[in-house]
Subunit: 230 residues, 2 copies
Amino acid sequence: AIETIGISKIYGSGNTEVIALREATMTIQRGEVVALLGPSGSGKSTLLSSIGLINPPTSGQIKIDGKVVMDGPKPFVNLQRYRRERLGFIFQKSNLIPFLSAIENVMIALSISGIEGRPAKRRAMELLDSLGVAERAKNLPSALSGGQQQRVAIARALANKPSLLLADEPTAALDSKLGRQVMELFREIGHENQAGVLVVTHDQRSLEVFDRILHMDDGLLTELEVANSK
Amino acid sequence: AIETIGISKIYGSGNTEVIALREATMTIQRGEVVALLGPSGSGKSTLLSSIGLINPPTSGQIKIDGKVVMDGPKPFVNLQRYRRERLGFIFQKSNLIPFLSAIENVMIALSISGIEGRPAKRRAMELLDSLGVAERAKNLPSALSGGQQQRVAIARALANKPSLLLADEPTAALDSKLGRQVMELFREIGHENQAGVLVVTHDQRSLEVFDRILHMDDGLLTELEVANSK
Ligand SMILES: Nc1ncnc2c1ncn2[C@@H]1O[C@H](COP(=O)(O)OP(=O)(O)OP(=O)(O)O)[C@@H](O)[C@H]1O
Ligand SMILES: Nc1ncnc2c1ncn2[C@@H]1O[C@H](COP(=O)(O)OP(=O)(O)OP(=O)(O)O)[C@@H](O)[C@H]1O
Ligand SMILES: [Mg+2]
Ligand SMILES: [Mg+2]
């Protein structure tokens, strides 16, 4: 499980101060698939990147499996190792490495957990295929459409079978049919691999795949009642 | 009006050849607000960037107000001048200048048509305000959320009151309420300023603001019947 306890995030200072998170407290259990909704600028990416250990909170704690990993900006573990071993992150902007092909972008994630050569190539191709972009494996990101780049970024995040998958608007560049398939893939990953999955989305329509729905408004986190239960 | 006559676009060659557009023929009149839908990878951004004179077609013609401006990749006019004077382009990735603030990003578009100093600052602030990001005017793009960056990019595209507005998934990073407001703003611009507006969107829900709906599938352009008439 990953847990945030009263985390706050303040950018800037004085009259340029922006309070992006206000004492956000939440838990995601392994196997839970959770949506995070909210208006533009409300703090969703900030919450996600704090949980993902890439944007330290100003105050408050982050715990993984009961162990404190951050207290405010102070790390208590090797953050890079924790991220590598457990996290899969899909950024709001795909963030692919521009000089590597689609398949190389996925394979570089695999090499981080020691999977290389033929087994890496095979796994990378399976992932690209599951997202419908296998035939673009050899292309550079600049030769891909926006939605194709996004799908390669998704494949890369899934490569190491993360125990916590954090996705920031992963279907923004996809048509509704593909977007739905991706949401169902995330649900499958959460439930079958017993991974925690947190998805920031603006798409209010494919919400039935989620176990829980969180809402962010001006830095304040709340939980919505979910009509359907598992 | 802007018109494409049988334009095709081929990327790569030999066995890496991708036919992104297949003889696409269409017209957008001034005052028309048109949506372009279609699956990821179907050629929407390619069509938009061809019409926007930034990605020349492999073959076929582009005419503006009856005058041929491109025949295949060969330009018949000064493309840069045509773009500057008539076009507003919202890219699929915001493409803001990273070392300029939000307001400077909008003002640089205004300076291209000779508007500078106080009048430029005033107009830029009005535009940012109409998109709800006025209070972030002095921030760099890196200090803005994804949806805030997208809105600054929209403000910048509108700055010079373009006679043709081309928007590539302009609401992808916005929540549904804001997304709807932006679509209605585009409709207003099209109808009141007599501008042609072409919007690539994956959002099948706010389609009633559009006069016509085009559909792209694997490079093939078709027009859908619109149930409601103006
Ligand atoms: N520079 C390039 N070199 C090779 N292929 C390209 C290049 N740019 C685009 N393509 C390919 O052309 C096809 C159409 O791309 P385009 O970006 O127009 O799609 P799109 O409809 O905008 O997709 P999306 O909805 O994902 O943004 C895609 O298969 C894409 O991979
Ligand atoms: N580096 C930064 N410096 C200053 N302010 C920032 C910085 N990063 C984010 N912000 C501000 O913090 C607030 C929350 O940003 P965040 O990116 O978390 O929003 P979001 O909910 O993801 O929005 P969107 O839906 O538009 O992506 C916004 O007002 C944003 O402008
Ligand atoms: Mg965000
Ligand atoms: Mg596109």
